[in-house]
């Protein structure tokens, strides 16, 4: 059936990595999201310089800031593991080592992201 698909369909579905443009697109999408999110984060990190734990937690516990922090965590870890994947694919050429590192990086990113989101929710809802 592949003979019936257009060149565009084929390049979308099958690059050399067999996943077409999905990685490239998601890297750009998360990058665009991270521009305002990281500027928001830096602004607030500066504003919180010298604040104690209770004051910082009160800030993070507000719905708008908790929401933006969760988005920053999700986009940040997603973007980060996409970037690390490219670096691993560029420099690690032993098949099992590459596979092991890719799995480790992706598992670690999901673990850290989910853990961080749960902690933000704990501060925002349970605090």
């Amino acid at each position: 059936m592949s003979g019936l698909s257009s060149p565009l369909q084929r390049v979308r579905g099958l690059g050399s990595a067999k996943e077409g443009a999905a990685h490239w697109w998601m890297q750009r999408l998360t990058a665009v999201a991270l521009v305002p999110l990281s500027l928001w984060f830096v602004y607030n990190a500066v504003a919180l310089t010298g604040a104690d734990g209770a004051q910082a937690a009160a800030w993070l516990g507000k719905p708008i800031d908790a929401t933006l922090m969760i988005l920053l965590i999700a986009a940040g870890f997603h973007h980060g593991q996409l970037g690390l994947q490219v670096i691993i694919e560029d420099y690690i050429h032993t098949a099992w080592r590459k596979m092991a590192l890719l799995i480790a990086v992706k598992f670690a990113a999901v673990l850290a992201a989910v853990g961080a989101i749960v902690l933000v929710l704990k501060i925002a809802v349970g605090g």
Partner: protein, 135 residues
Amino acid sequence: MGIPMTVSNRPLSPHLQIYRWPVSMMASMLHRASGMALAAGMLLLLWWIAALASGPAAFLTLQHFIGSFIGRLLLFGWTWSLFFHLLNGLRHLVWDTGIGYEVKSVQRFAWIVLAGSVALTLVVWTAGYAMLGAW
């Protein structure tokens, strides 16, 4: 094999130590390096959130670390990595639209990104120190 190894005196292609590094190459390498630094720095963000969730004692430990020389150095490096990666990332997004590939423009914006990232880092740290007395 029957062919003896011979020492060739022919010139080699230039290696890293020989190159006068173009600024565009520098920016490309720093983009990857700062990206890796930011990935590691996400763990600091994770620690900060975990400390906030677990209470005053954990937060004091974190503040003590960040206030130390090593802590400030890491945070300074992380701040610069963030601004460099952000500005250079915008450069990449502009390239994605198909413009800005002239050598002159590539080099000019590499310098702008480098200078801008240093300037923004200094602005943020100046503001941070100014905030220290505010709470």
